[in-house]
C-alpha cells in the first residue's frame, strides 16, 4: 500500500476517535488524538476544523482561530472553517470579549505566580461569569479557592469545567480534593441517626399520664420574662450576625467591584504610559534629527541655504562671491529632484569659469603680500579644477616670496614629480634649484 495512503488512513482513524471523544465531551482527549491525526496527514481538514471547534468550546478562541485560518490556507474551497471564521467576525464584540478573557487569564496567572492571589481571584471571578466555559480559567480559580481552603467555591468552578470537558484529568483531581474537604459534613449528617432506641414494654410497666399543673400568675410573669430574654438572645445571636454579614457581604462586593475597576484602570494606565513613553522617545528622536538638520553646518538645510546664496550672487553678477560659496557647498546632499538641474548647472559653470576667478583673487592677494590669503584662494581654485598646474606653481611662489622655502619646495616638487611634461615643470625646477 502506498505510504501516503497509509498515513491518510491512520489520520482518518485518529480523526474518528477524536470525533467520538468530542461527542462524549472528552475534549482534552479529543485535542490529543486530533493533533495526532494531523501529524499523519496535515490536510485532514475535518480533523483541523474539529480541533478548532474543540479549542473554541474550551474557551481558547485564539487557538481556534489559528486552526481555522491554517485550515483555510491548506484547503480554500468547500471548507467549513470559512463559515466558522465568518460567524465569529459577524458576532459584534465577541472577538474582543474573547481577547479580553485571554488577557485577563494571563494577567491572573501572572498575579498568582507573583503571590497577588486576591487580584488573580478578582479578575478570574468576573471573567468566568462572561465565559463560564473557559475551562483553564475555572481550573485556576478553583486552585486559588482551594489554596484559601474555600472548597465549596472551588467545587462550583470545577463543576462548570466538567460540564464543558467531562474527563479532564486536572479537573477530576481537583474535584476529588474539593469533595474530600466539603463532603464530610454531609456524610456525618447522613451518618447521624436517631440516638433514641425503643425497648419493648413489659406487662407490669405503668404508664404515667402527664401531670397537669395549673399556671399561677407568677409563673406567667416568669414565662413572659423568659420569653423576652429568649427573644433578645435570638436576635443578638442569630438575626444581628445575619444582618451584619449581609451588610459586610454587600460592602465586600462593592469593594471587589471597586478593586476590579482599579485593576482595569491600572492596566489601562500601564498601557497608556507605555504608549506615552514610546511617543516621547519618538518625539525626542524627531526633535534631535530636526535640530541636526537645522543647526549642523554640514546639514542638508545649510547646503540649500548656500545654494540659494550662490544663485543670489549669480543674479548680482558677483562671480567672486559665487565661487567662494561654491567651494564651501556640499553638492552631494542636494538630491532634491527639482534642484538637481540647478545644482548641475552651477557645477558646470564653476568648472569652466569659477576656478579662474579664484586664481585671479589669489594673484591679487599675492601682489598685496598677503601670502595666506593668496594660498587660500589658489587652494580653492584647485578644489574646482585640480588639474590647474598654474595654481600649484603660484602657491609655491607665494610661499617662496614669503620666505617659506620648505613649503614652496613641496609644491614645486609636486609639479616636477607628477606633471613633468607641463609648462611649469622647468620653472618649478628652476625655483627649487634642483
Amino acid at each position: 500500500m502506498d505510504t501516503g495512503m497509509r498515513n491518510r488512513q491512520i489520520s482518518n482513524a485518529y480523526y474518528n476517535v477524536g470525533l467520538e471523544k468530542a461527542k462524549e465531551r472528552d475534549l482534552t482527549g479529543a485535542v490529543q488524538v486530533l493533533k495526532k491525526s494531523l501529524r499523519f496527514h496535515k490536510y485532514q481538514t475535518d480533523a483541523r476544523n474539529l480541533l478548532g471547534l474543540v479549542y473554541h468550546e474550551l474557551g481558547e478562541v485564539g487557538a481556534a482561530l489559528a486552526q481555522w485560518i491554517i485550515s483555510l490556507n491548506l484547503q480554500e474551497e468547500n471548507n467549513l472553517a470559512e463559515g466558522y471564521l465568518k460567524a465569529l467576525q459577524n458576532s459584534p464584540g465577541y472577538l474582543d470579549m474573547a481577547d479580553q478573557a485571554a488577557k485577563k487569564y494571563n494577567q491572573s496567572l501572572n498575579y498568582a505566580r507573583n503571590e497577588n492571589e486576591d487580584l488573580a481571584v478578582l479578575l478570574l471571578m468576573r471573567m468566568v461569569e462572561e465565559m463560564p466555559n473557559y475551562v483553564k480559567a475555572q481550573q485556576l480559580l478553583a486552585l486559588l479557592y482551594m489554596h484559601h481552603e474555600d472548597y465549596t467555591k472551588a467545587g462550583r468552578c470545577l463543576f462548570q469545567a466538567m460540564k464543558v470537558d467531562r474527563y479532564n484529568p486536572l479537573t477530576q483531581r481537583y474535584m476529588t480534593i474539593a469533595k474530600a474537604n466539603t463532603g464530610k459534613a454531609e456524610v456525618e449528617k447522613r451518618k447521624l441517626k436517631n440516638a433514641f432506641s425503643h425497648r419493648q414494654m413489659q406487662d407490669d410497666d405503668i404508664i404515667l399520664p402527664p401531670s397537669y399543673k395549673e399556671n399561677t400568675g407568677l409563673q406567667s410573669v416568669l414565662n413572659i420574662l423568659a420569653g423576652l430574654v429568649m427573644g433578645v438572645v435570638v436576635v443578638f445571636f442569630l438575626v444581628t450576625p445575619t444582618i451584619r454579614d449581609s451588610i459586610v457581604s454587600r460592602y465586600e462586593e462593592e469593594i471587589r467591584q471597586g478593586l476590579e475597576l482599579v485593576n482595569q484602570k491600572s492596566l489601562q494606565i500601564d498601557e497608556l504610559n507605555r504608549k506615552l513613553e514610546d511617543a516621547s522617545e519618538a518625539q525626542q528622536e524627531a526633535e534631535s534629527s530636526l535640530e541636526t538638520m537645522v543647526n549642523d553646518s554640514g546639514s542638508v538645510i545649510s547646503q540649500y541655504q548656500r545654494l540659494a546664496q550662490i544663485l543670489q550672487a549669480y543674479r548680482s553678477e558677483d562671480m567672486r562671491t559665487a565661487a567662494q560659496l561654491y567651494v564651501e557647498t556640499d553638492f552631494s546632499v542636494l538630491t532634491d529632484g527639482v534642484l538637481d538641474e540647478i545644482g548641475s548647472w552651477v557645477q558646470q559653470d564653476m568648472a569652466a569659469n569659477g576656478y579662474p576667478v579664484l586664481e585671479q583673487m589669489g594673484d591679487e592677494a599675492a601682489a598685496r603680500g598677503n601670502t595666506d590669503q593668496a594660498v587660500d584662494y589658489y587652494q580653492k581654485s584647485l578644489q574646482i579644477n585640480g588639474g590647474n598646474i598654474g595654481a600649484i606653481f603660484k602657491i609655491g611662489m607665494a610661499y617662496k616670496n614669503a620666505g617659506n622655502v620648505d613649503q614652496a619646495n613641496e609644491f614645486f616638487g609636486e609639479i616636477i614629480m607628477n606633471h613633468p611634461d607641463s609648462e611649469y615643470a622647468a620653472q618649478a625646477k628652476e625655483q627649487r634649484g634642483f
Binding site: T3, G4, N7, I10, L38, R39, F40, H41, K42, E60, V61, G62, A63, L65, A66, I69, I70, L74, L95, A98, D99, A101, A102, K103, Y105, N106, L109, A112, R113, K136, Q139, L140, L143, M146, H147, L170, I177
Partner: protein
C-alpha cells in the same frame, strides 16, 4: 495535599487574538508524509 506552586506549573498562558498571526507562523505543519519525503531525498 495541594502544593500550590507546583500546581501553578500546570497552567500555561492562553493565546490572545493579537498573537494568532505569530502562532500561525510558528505552527509546525510537518506531517508523516513530509518526513518520509525528506528521508527519501536524503537517501
Amino acid at each position: 495535599m495541594l502544593d500550590f506552586e507546583e500546581e501553578l506549573k500546570n497552567f500555561q498562558p492562553s493565546m490572545e487574538i493579537g498573537n494568532v498571526e505569530d502562532a500561525i507562523g510558528r505552527e509546525d505543519l510537518t506531517d508523516m508524509t513530509d518526513l518520509m519525503v525528506e528521508l527519501l531525498n536524503n537517501k
